[in-house]
Structure formats: structure tokens, C-alpha cells
């Protein structure tokens, strides 16, 4: 302690600014690799997308500045307005169901028992399947022409004719949510499981010796102590659902009759079908701002 004090005092006397400056340079050097990566991979694309949104940006050839035309025309894009409403609805349903199912699964496999590893793995396994692959898998299984699910249901006498899994708006949404639950419930279970296991067993023992029943233990101990983990899961689920793309793109193709078009699908359409890169960038920026706002709010409320 004394040593440091004397040393710094001496340093302060001899060459204060030079030493300070060299430490500052050193700090910058340490941070430089990360700064470069952040700059190139995160900041630059963001700046680029904002800049694109202020221009008419053709596939090849020079861009022309046209701000704020790309933003103004968002209002007369009925597909996007519908997509916003649909995505919000999808997010609400998915998040509620996903939280419920994931929590249920986590509670099921919470305690160490013989063979529990098998169930944990089995529940998590769909999480290892890529979304596009999962979409195709469900498309294949539920397809009315060649899917095995319809014949199975019919031979068991549950249904009398093929169910239009993606043929009507409501069924398409239902089928997609089933796909998402299958794909993500295990993953979210894993998140909740780590939260559950972080709760000290002493708390449970104390509660039990005080005579609390299972329900009381769940509502008074498990849920409150799980709150930070639940918050994390909620944020992931809401953000992921608002950015939903693959499931609809691969599985329902936005149909039938544009009933399952998500916001990102509109961005994709504007960029790659209509070649309106500037317009697509503007939509992305709007989406980004909304997401940042929403996440900030959620972080504050749920912390």
C-alpha cells in the first residue's frame, strides 16, 4: 500500500501527463481488437443500413439521396401494417404458451432422478434442429398430399378427412405455433432449469418444515426466485417472435392469403422481390428502433 502511494506520488511529481497518456494508449491498445470487431461487425452494418434507408439504392449502380421518402411510404404499405398486427398477435400467443410449456417441462425434469438425463436431452433435442429444417420437416409431415400425419389420424378414426394444417389462416397460425413450441420449448426449459437449480435447497427445506404445501412453495418461493431467469426468457422470446421469419417463410410462405406474413417477411419482400433496398432498410430501421425501445422497457420492468 505504502509502496504504491509513494510510487504514484513520485510519478505524479516527475511526469504526470506523459505517464497518464501512455497508460491511456495502452488501454486503447488492449481494447482495440474488440473495438475493431464491434466496429466492423456491429456498428458499420448499422450505419450502412441507416444510410441505405435514406437513399434510393439500386441493385447495381450509384445510390441517390431521397430521404425521407423511404420512411414516408411505409404508411401506405398495407402489407406491413397487417404484418405488424399479425406479428404482435403471434408474439403474444407464442410467448404465453412458450413460457408455460417451458416452465412445465423444467419443473418436470428439475430433480435428479434415475433416467432424468434422457428426458432433459429429449426435450432439448428439437432445439438443435435448424429452423429452416424444422419448417421443412413440419411441412413434410403435415402436407395434405404426402404427409404421414393425416393418414395416421384417419386410420385411428380421429378425423374423417385431411385437416388443412396450413390451408386456413387459423390453422396455419396454430400449426406454426406448434412448430415453434416444439422447436423452442426445450431450449427455454434449459434456461429455466439453470434458474431453478440456482435456488438453494435450504429455502425449500425451511419452507417444508414450516408446513408449506407444494402450491405455496411454487408460488411463494420458486416463482419469485425464478424471476430474473423468467425475465431473461421473456425477453428472448418476445424479441425472437417479433423477428420471426424462417418459420413463416419456409412453412407457410406467408399464406394462405397473406394471413401469416411477419414483419421481417415484408422487409425481405421489399429487398429481394421488389428490389427496393432503400425501402427495406427503412423498415429495418423502424423495426430496430421499436425493438430497442421495447427491450429497454422490458429490462426496466422485469429487473
Amino acid at each position: 500500500m505504502t509502496l504504491t502511494v509513494t510510487r504514484s506520488r513520485r510519478a505524479a511529481h516527475s511526469a504526470p501527463s506523459a505517464r497518464w497518456r501512455s497508460r491511456k494508449v495502452q488501454g486503447w491498445l488492449y481494447a482495440a481488437p474488440t473495438a475493431v470487431i464491434v466496429g466492423v461487425l456491429f456498428i458499420a452494418p448499422l450505419v450502412l443500413v441507416v444510410w441505405m434507408s435514406l437513399n434510393r439504392w439500386p441493385l447495381l449502380g450509384p445510390a441517390t439521396f431521397n430521404a425521407p421518402a423511404n420512411y414516408v411510404k411505409i404508411a401506405d404499405n398495407p402489407l406491413f401494417v397487417d404484418a405488424v398486427l399479425f406479428t404482435l398477435k403471434y408474439t403474444a400467443i407464442t410467448t404465453v404458451l412458450l413460457s408455460g410449456v417451458a416452465l412445465g417441462l423444467a419443473l418436470l425434469v428439475q430433480e435428479r432422478r434415475p433416467g432424468i438425463a434422457f428426458f432433459r436431452t429429449a426435450f432439448f433435442l428439437p432445439g438443435a434442429v435448424g429452423f429452416a429444417a424444422a419448417g421443412l420437416l413440419f411441412y413434410g409431415m403435415l402436407n395434405n398430399d404426402f404427409g404421414p400425419i393425416d393418414p395416421m389420424l384417419q386410420s385411428l378414426g380421429i378425423t374423417s378427412e385431411p385437416i388443412k394444417w396450413i390451408g386456413t389462416p387459423n390453422m396455419a397460425l396454430f400449426s406454426t405455433i406448434t412448430l415453434v413450441l416444439w422447436r423452442f420449448a426445450g431450449f427455454n426449459m434449459l434456461i429455466l432449469l439453470t434458474g431453478l437449480q440456482a435456488i438453494p435447497t435450504e429455502v425449500y427445506e425451511a419452507a417444508r418444515s414450516d408446513g408449506a404445501n407444494r402450491w405455496q412453495i411454487f408460488t411463494r418461493i420458486t416463482l419469485p426466485l425464478l424471476r430474473p431467469t423468467l425475465a431473461l426468457m421473456l425477453i428472448l422470446s418476445v424479441t425472437g417472435s417479433l423477428l420471426a421469419f424462417d418459420q413463416f417463410f419456409v412453412f407457410t410462405n406467408g399464406g394462405p392469403d397473406n394471413s401469416t406474413v411477419s414483419m421481417v417477411m415484408v422487409v425481405y419482400r421489399d429487398a429481394f422481390f421488389r428490389f427496393d433496398l432503400g425501402g427495406a432498410a427503412a423498415l429495418s430501421v423502424v423495426l430496430l428502433v421499436a425493438l430497442v425501445g421495447l427491450n429497454t422497457l422490458m429490462m426496466r420492468r422485469l429487473r
Binding site: V40, L41, A44, P45, V47, L48, W51, M52, P58, L59, L60, G61, P62, A63, L79, N144, D145, P162, K164, I166, G167, N253, G254, G255, P256, D257, N258, V261, M265, V266, Y268, R269, A271, F272, F273, R274, F275, L277
Partner: protein, 423 residues
């Protein structure tokens, strides 16, 4: 300046990615490689993959320069081209659905090859509709690659079993509907066989199979500039009505309403469909022992027409191997390639002067299809893809309301199509 900055940051991202991937040999030829054999890259869509593969295989076998072909799923083709163009990473040569070509040329994706085409001895014999769509402001950008015409196919075995004359295909859309209904009534009891089929949730399928009936009746679906939609007028509405009745009477397969496109041609070769409109390129893919009749698509009361679809081939504007690319694409329309690769496999030729060749003479159906090239149409519109092919575009909504839903919405939806065409 700002654009350059944006470019630099994008470049550094690309450089970083390339470095992360370990790079390649880093030299994709370029003009300096003209001495040695050059390998050029080519993209094509899955719909016309067979023809492209045959041409590339034959070319690679007989030439020093080589072509590396990449096949991309048809639905993803347009987005892939857009993404590649944005990143200036287009292949040297790419095929495009002919109806998208005007948009691509107007976006500057293809290299101007007017002078090179002018030097071809058979320049005036190249498929006219493909050449028309590949021309912008009197400059030419593409060569015809494959021709895919829509025609009615009928299954002679099913016709015989249903008590119809197997040698007599339908001569009007009304007759088509009657014959399909007969097949359905006589053979459709067990739910395996159906009178007809169509891609009811696929915009491209509708234009390919329904529009020829309108043209056959002497009408149009758009103005010549491709900026005003006429899809709310007769005979289009009459055509919709006939198909609507076929669906309502369950003459079409039950999944027609949901069919998104990829599998719509899959039922006929299995012997499950009596009569339906199909792409002519599927003729070469039919089972050998299947007895199939082919006839032009007709209007409600007769006439004949076809949608001259298929692909055009051009050199991308960013290609560094223009000479090698031209050597390949000009070879694909040569006598050798056209007759020994395309005609030999029952494909429609990209050149009208070779239509009567030694192979086509063997199959009257091929002669018929070849003869339709002159009668058919290829619609022109700069905004074709986003209007008619895109599942979120306005055309699919109109067609589905007209066939399955509320037909009274057609006029209002037609204005949406016009709006999209003018964007």
C-alpha cells in the same frame, strides 16, 4: 464520400469473412487468364435445371473452357440474384425466368451484348419473344436459353377407361371442363384419380396456365407496356368461372387450393389426373410407357395459345470473363447444341430455323409444341415478379378470390395489380 465509406465498411466485412473462411485461390480468372482454360460460373433455377445441366455437361466435354453450374431452388432464385447483385457477386453467366429479364436489364444486371449478337449468322432466328424481353432501349442483353410452353396434357389410358375418345383432346376450355368432369365422375370414386389439377396457391402457376385461355380468345391481360392490368375483364373472368366450377364440383384434386407450386406437376406423371395444363418441358420427363396426348390451351370457346416461358441467358454486368462467357452462351444456341442436346431430349428449340429437325420429326407432339412458339405470348412488365409471382403480391389474392373466394372483389383487387405494376 459517404457511399465510399459505406462501401469500405462493407468491403472490410467481406474481407474479414473471406479471411475467416480461409480464402480461396483468390483468383477467379479475370481477363489476364485468357491464355489458359477459364472456368466460368453459371446459375440457373431448378425449374429448367435439366436442360441447363445437359448443355453444360456437353459443353464441358467438348471445350477447353469449363462451366461450373449452380442450381438454385426456383422460389429462391429472384432473392438470390438480388442479394448477389447487391454484393457484386453475381456469377459470370446466369439464366433468368424470361419474364423477369426486363426488370433485371433495367436494373443493369446483364452486360450489353448487342454487338456480339449482331455477329451471329442466325441472329434473326432466335426465339422472338425471348429476344423481345431481352431488349431494352434497342440494346440486347440476353439469348434464349430454354423454352417452356404451357400446353394441355391428357392421359389417354384414363380417357379410355372413362369412355372418352383417347385420341381426341379438348378443343375449348368448356370441353376441357366436360372431359375433366367425365374422368372425375367415372374414375374418381376412390379419391385417387381426379379430373384435373392446378396450382391454386401459386401466382406463377395461374399466369402460366390461365392466361393462354384469354389470349386464345383474342383478348389481353395487360396493356402492351405492362402497366395496366385487364384481369377483371372477360374473358379472364369467364376463365376464372370455369375453373371455379371445376373446384366447387370437386373435379380438381382436393389439395389444389393449397398447392404452392413446387409439387403441382407431380400428380399427372403418376397417372392420377385426367387432363391438365402443364409445362412442355415435363414431356421429356414423363414415364416411357404412359400414353399422353398434348394439345394447345384453348379459350372458353376455342382458339389456341400458349405462355412462352422458360429462361434467358446473359452475361452478368460484373463478370470478369466476358469472352469466355460469350463463347459458352453463344455455343448454347449453335446448331450442335440445339439439335443434339435440346431437340434430342424433346425440348423446344431456342431457334425457329431448327424447329423441323431429325428428332422433332419422330414425335408429333414435339412438332405441335414447336409450332406454338409463334402463336404464344410472353407478357411484358417491368414489375412482373413482385406483381404476379410473389406469393405476397396482388395477383395471387385476386386469382384466389376469383376461384375460391368472393369473386365480386375482383375489380377492386385488379386496381391493386395496376398499382403494383406502376410502382
Amino acid at each position: 464520400m459517404r457511399r465510399r465509406l459505406a462501401g469500405i465498411s462493407l468491403l472490410s466485412v467481406l474481407a474479414l469473412t473471406a479471411a475467416a473462411c480461409g480464402g480461396g485461390d483468390g483468383n477467379d480468372g479475370g481477363t489476364q487468364a485468357a491464355d489458359g482454360p477459364v472456368t466460368i460460373t453459371m446459375w440457373t433455377r431448378a425449374a429448367t435445371q435439366t436442360q441447363s445441366e445437359r448443355l453444360v455437361a456437353e459443353y464441358n466435354k467438348t471445350h477447353k473452357n469449363q462451366v461450373k453450374l449452380t442450381v438454385i431452388p426456383t422460389d429462391n432464385y429472384q432473392p438470390r440474384i438480388a442479394a448477389a447483385a447487391g454484393a457484386k457477386q453475381l456469377p459470370d453467366v446466369f439464366a433468368a425466368d424470361v419474364i423477369f429479364v426486363p426488370n433485371y436489364t433495367s436494373q443493369g444486371l446483364f452486360m450489353d451484348i448487342t454487338d456480339r449478337i449482331a455477329a451471329l449468322p442466325y441472329k434473326d432466328k432466335l426465339a422472338p419473344s425471348h429476344m423481345k424481353l431481352g431488349t431494352l432501349d434497342n440494346r440486347q442483353y440476353t439469348l434464349p436459353h430454354t423454352l417452356d410452353l404451357s400446353v394441355w396434357f391428357w392421359n389417354k389410358d384414363l380417357y379410355e377407361k372413362a369412355g372418352l375418345d383417347p385420341e381426341q383432346g379438348p378443343e375449348s376450355l368448356k370441353e376441357f371442363a366436360e372431359q375433366a368432369t367425365t374422368v372425375q365422375e367415372k374414375l374418381g370414386k376412390d379419391g385417387k384419380i381426379h379430373g384435373t389439377f392446378f396450382g391454386g396457391n401459386c401466382g406463377g402457376c395461374y399466369v402460366f396456365t390461365f392466361w393462354p385461355s384469354v389470349w386464345a380468345a383474342g383478348a389481353q391481360v395487360m396493356n402492351a407496356e405492362g402497366t395496366v392490368s385487364l384481369n377483371d375483364q372477360p374473358p379472364m373472368t369467364a376463365v376464372f368461372d370455369i375453373w371455379r366450377k371445376l373446384y366447387e364440383n370437386k373435379v380438381t384434386g382436393p389439395t389444389a387450393k393449397e398447392e404452392q407450386g413446387p409439387t403441382w406437376t407431380g400428380f399427372f406423371p403418376k397417372g392420377e389426373i385426367g387432363v391438365m395444363p402443364m409445362p412442355s418441358t415435363t414431356l421429356g420427363l414423363m414415364p416411357e410407357d404412359m400414353r399422353i396426348g398434348v394439345t394447345p390451351i384453348a379459350g372458353p370457346d376455342g382458339g389456341e395459345s400458349t405462355f412462352v416461358g422458360g429462361d434467358s441467358l446473359g452475361i452478368s454486368a460484373t463478370s470478369q470473363n466476358a469472352d469466355a462467357a460469350w463463347e459458352f452462351i453463344s455455343w448454347t444456341v449453335s446448331d450442335q447444341a440445339q439439335v443434339e442436346v435440346m431437340a434430342k431430349n424433346k425440348d423446344v428449340l431456342a431457334r425457329t430455323d431448327l424447329a423441323g429437325n431429325k428428332y422433332s420429326a419422330e414425335d408429333p407432339r414435339v412438332v405441335l409444341i414447336n409450332s406454338l412458339v409463334a402463336k404464344g405470348q410472353t407478357p411484358f412488365a417491368l414489375r412482373f415478379g413482385q406483381t404476379y409471382n410473389d406469393p405476397q403480391g396482388p395477383w395471387l389474392r385476386l386469382a384466389r378470390e376469383a376461384v375460391f373466394g368472393d369473386a365480386s372483389k375482383v375489380p377492386q383487387l385488379n386496381t391493386e395489380i395496376t398499382k403494383s405494376l406502376q410502382q
